[in-house]
């Protein structure tokens, strides 16, 4: 049986892992240590912990969007993302929209108008960063 244990909050996440481990140990105590094989590996951590100290890079992207009349929609990523691992590897990396909808299936589509806005956000980030430095 495979389980994914996840939580946005790091300490609740650790609690959950402990809970699973405790239940496994209870089974072992009752039925013998060979009754369960158990393997637990951390896959990724909430990138927020690594981006919070350099929050200005989020502010920079937000500012770029606002300058282009785009309303920033700030919400957590559901799954993992390259950015979360990269942030832990020392490269803080937030994620920005592409303009696409319904990824991964036949109903996937994208607005070219919003692709243009994404390209403009990239340009604007570079421009503001130079201006403000």
């Amino acid at each position: 049986m495979y389980y994914i244990i996840r939580d946005h909050d790091r300490s609740k996440f650790e609690d959950r892992k402990e809970l699973v481990e405790r239940f496994v140990n209870e089974i072992k105590e009752k039925y013998g240590k060979d009754s369960v094989l158990f393997n637990l590996n951390d896959q990724y951590y909430n990138m927020r912990d690594r981006i919070e100290p350099v929050k200005e890079i989020v502010e920079l992207a937000k500012q770029a969007m606002e300058n282009l009349d785009i309303e920033p929609v700030i919400e957590p990523i559901r799954g993992g993302t390259d950015g979360s691992q990269l942030s832990y590897m020392g490269l803080p990396t937030p994620n920005i929209f592409t303009g696409g909808e319904n990824f991964h299936g036949k109903y996937e589509y994208i607005s070219v108008d919003n692709m243009e806005k994404a390209a403009n956000v990239i340009v604007e980030i570079c421009r503001i960063f130079e201006e403000e430095n």
Partner: protein, 265 residues
């Protein structure tokens, strides 16, 4: 800019770059390396410098600073591969100009319709130029839209030298969809102070928070030890699994997720 985006995007999505979880190579599939080569040529063509594909298929390039100011390097990233959930071969992108906001038939024969009933956001795209699938494959906007947008933005900056910017680094990386994207990403070689992935969904998305996640593999063996002791009964593995699951308080119970064999705790 729109024409350039359409041209780049439709070129990239026609190349099959689905990754493969069962492969042990990096990139996991040869299509990704082919796309990386096409992109390397395009990056050179628009005037990017230090265009290099490393032995693992990670493509990196530099847009040199055009300001006298000493400012940190910004990176932009997108991934080369597309998802494995649905076929990504022979993608045949459809361009809908000036979308009328009504339901869109993607494939008459197979009766594949993009409908507002299922996708409530659809009518809000009235007046936009949309790119859709032909109803038989995924599109691959994840993440070829990100690649097209980064390319187009770099080309824009190169063609507008009056717009001042610091040093910019770009990377296109393999195998994000199978969770191996950053494994061989050389952060030192990339040499940026911070970066952005252009890998989100609808307009305005800005994300800097993800889950903490761990994978647990639990194999219940049952017990067939201690046959001599009376109080230890034989218990089969199924029963142990049930006993384990019942330990969770109701709101914490493992829940099955759609499309995965995994459960979330």
């Amino acid at each position: 800019m729109k024409d350039e985006l359409i041209k780049r995007f439709t070129t990239y999505v026609k190349m099959d770059t689905q990754s493969d979880e069962d492969s042990s190579t990096t990139p996991s599939t040869p299509g990704q390396l082919e796309l990386a080569k096409v992109l390397a040529a395009e990056l050179k063509e628009i005037g990017m410098e230090d265009v290099q594909i490393d032995e693992n298929g990670y493509l990196m390039a530099t847009l040199p600073s055009n300001t006298e100011k000493e400012i940190p390097t910004i990176g932009f990233l997108a991934h080369l591969d597309t998802a494995t959930d649905f076929t990504g071969k022979n993608v045949n992108p459809q361009i809908v100009d000036n979308f009328d906001g009504n339901d869109l038939t993607l494939n008459e024969e197979l009766n594949v319709v993009l409908s507002a009933k299922e996708f409530p956001e659809l009518p809000s795209y009235k007046g936009h130029t949309l790119i859709t699938t032909d109803g038989t494959t995924l599109l691959g906007a994840d993440n070829k839209a990100g690649i097209a947008e980064i390319m187009t933005a770099m080309n824009y900056l190169i063609n507008h030298p009056e717009m001042k910017h610091g040093r910019i680094r770009v990377a296109f990386t393999p195998d994000e969809e199978i969770g191996k994207g950053p494994h061989k990403f050389d952060v030192e070689r990339f040499d940026a102070a911070f970066a952005y992935t252009i890998d989100g969904g609808p307009l305005g998305e800005l994300q800097f928070e993800s889950f903490n996640a761990a994978a647990a593999k639990i194999t219940f063996k049952g017990n067939n030890v201690h046959p001599g002791t009376a109080k230890n009964k034989m218990v089969n593995s199924g029963k142990l699994a049930v006993e384990f699951i019942n330990k969770f308080p109701e709101k914490e119970a493992p829940e099955h997720t759609e499309g995965y064999e995994d459960s979330i705790i």
